[in-house]
Amino acid sequence: MKTYLYLFVMAATTYLIRVLPLTLIRKPIQNPFLRSFLFYVPYVTLAVMTFPAIMNATQSPIAGAAAMVIGIVAAWCGLGLLPVSLVCCATVLILEHFIV
């Protein structure tokens, strides 16, 4: 039951963020600090979410770490969203076949 409360609070907060400027504020945010902060947030938060969590998501932390390295290389080489994630997935499946 608590999970539904969590989901409700999540949805309400996210919707308020999206809807308030469209309905009430209607002015661009000018504050340079706030603009810069909001520019960096997505990259920082995704990086923080990925590591070291990727090592705990797999049965063997080594497989997760390897998937991370290979994923970074693949993304650096210009592979798209789906190919990078499939490469990471394959890395774990192959490594854990031998490790676990």
Binding site: K2, T3, Y4, L5, Y6, L7, V9, M10, A11, T14, Y15, I17, V19, P21, L22, T23, I25, R26, K27, P28, I29, P32, F33, L34, S36, F37, L38, Y40, V41, P42, Y43, V44, T45, L46, A47, V48, F51, P52, A53, A57, T58, Q59, A63, M68, A74, G78, G80, L81, L82, P83, V84, S85, L86, C88, C89, A90, V92, L93, E96, V100
Partner: protein
């Protein structure tokens, strides 16, 4: 007239929907790992339409860190939508009725914002609704399928699929880091701080969600003070 715009939006939204499908499948696997049911996974995606926000929420739910924590997490991780919403409000005709504004806000995502802002002149709301109709099912169905497959697949397969979401996160941030050295520095610092926070005393006692929240605020604020971002582009 509105039908034409709607169909055009539908067409432009299809690639987004297909892309969403894969990402949200990863969200579904994470939701399964946090013991969410299929219906809860559906609600999660149907009501939020935000990948990092949903993953952040899952970490809070998994650790039962509290309702204030999840609200704060959404506020920080999804705060960029505040900027996008402001920007998009400038592109709506002033006589756009309130119900339509409420509907537009519902699926204001990075990708749909990108499409909408690329349209010349005032935004055709029916174009926007078309993109929503193409993109949203991919997001919700992908999540449901992720939770479902998480329940059905053997442990080794779930283990492999669990890294898919992280792979996509990497595919989002690394190309931007390649072009922008400050972003690349932020990514490196984030990896390092996140690792340290998970092993050092005190911070390691915090739940994963709280660590994500605190590190996101501290590192982004530090970067904003040290390296103010000048360009106007919001997404990259």
């Amino acid at each position: 007239m509105s039908k034409k715009h709607f169909l055009r939006g539908l067409r432009d939204g299809i690639p987004i929907g297909l892309g969403y499908f894969a990402v949200s499948f990863g969200i579904g696997i994470s939701a399964h790992n946090a013991h969410l049911s299929i219906f809860q996974g559906f609600l999660l995606s149907f009501l939020n339409n935000a990948s990092s926000g949903e993953y952040g929420g899952i970490t809070i739910i998994a650790a039962d860190s509290g309702l204030w924590a999840i609200a704060l997490m959404m506020l920080v991780v999804n705060a960029r939508y505040l900027l996008m919403s402001c920007a998009l409000s400038q592109r709506l005709s002033p006589d756009t009725p309130l119900p339509w504004r409420l509907l537009i806000a519902y699926d204001l995502t990075d990708e749909i914002f990108g499409l909408a802002i690329a349209q010349p002149g005032y935004l055709e709301v029916w174009y926007y609704f078309g993109t929503m109709c193409a993109a949203m099912p991919g997001w919700s169905i992908g999540t449901v399928l992720g939770v479902l497959m998480g329940n059905l697949m053997p442990v080794w397969a779930v283990s492999g699929c669990s890294v898919m979401l992280f792979g996509m996160f990497l595919a989002i941030i690394i190309p931007v880091g390649k072009q922008n050295r400050i972003v690349l520095g932020c990514i490196g610092v984030s990896f390092l701080c996140s690792l340290l926070a998970s092993v050092l005393p005190f911070t390691r006692e915090l739940s994963e969600g709280m660590r994500i929240l605190v590190l996101t605020i501290v590192i982004s604020a530090a970067a904003a003070i040290l390296f103010p971002h000048k360009e106007d582009d919001l997404v990259a």
